[in-house]
Amino acid sequence: MSFKAFKRALWVYHLNTGSCNGCDIEILAVLTPRYDAERFGIMLVGSPRHADVLLVTGPVGRQMVPRLKRIYEQAPDPKMVIAIGSCGLEGGVFHESYNLAGPIDQHIPVDVYVPGCPPRPEAIIEAVVKAWVKLEKVEQGVS
């Protein structure tokens, strides 16, 4: 039995797979005083082993594929993956680039998609809430 209060405090690991940093800046904006997601216990952590949710940005360069898969495998179950930005969804402005290995969901299962170039912080917060709802359903199914 774990603390119920902690179940809603999602810990998030942010992985950049080759993003232009636009989405990453918006993710950081979620943590700034204007939006302040940390007041709900949603915070960025430095290791996927501590994370409930993986926030993945970028169009996935070829060199990033094994790293992306390894980081996904290292996150404990149950876990959610949120693909942030158009690049992660379908390549975005880089979609014809020779050194891309395709969208994120070709390599790891994605639970929530957030389109936008970059998406607004409100959209990212809504995605985290959707991931939290799905995570709760998964946990109820597990236990």
Binding site: S2, A75, D77
Partner: protein, 114 residues
């Protein structure tokens, strides 16, 4: 009871011990409520190295005495070849010594004849 006072501060080992036990109990409580669904012997229990593959245990650390690690790493091709003859066995070194002496003697003999 052993109590030391230093102005406003004081030191009491019993109170310190009780505080230590309370803190440890709280820490244990939090730890016991942690994630238990780790899958053993999978990537979930491996060291996180920014997504990189974790190297073998003996390659994880550069030993403090090895200040020439950069040279060895850069000149790996050279050192791999040179380090093979350096077996550390005295007999091998004596064979090398005698062989080199013999080669030099032959060279001196030939040069002396000329």
């Amino acid at each position: 009871m052993l109590i030391s006072e230093f102005g406003f501060a004081f030191w009491n080992p019993i109170i310190w011990l009780i505080a230590f036990i309370v803190v440890m109990a709280i820490a244990y409580l939090f730890r016991s409520r942690g994630q238990k669904q780790y899958k053993k012997d999978t990537a979930q229990t491996k060291i996180f190295l920014c997504g990189e593959e974790v190297p073998e245990a003996e390659q994880q650390h550069i030993r403090a005495h090895n200040v020439y690690w950069g040279f060895f790493e850069t000149l790996k091709g050279y050192y791999d070849k040179v380090m093979k003859p350096h077996t550390g066995i005295v007999n091998d070194y004596m064979i090398w010594f005698i062989a080199i002496i013999a080669i030099i003697a032959i060279i001196f003999f030939i040069v002396g004849q000329v």
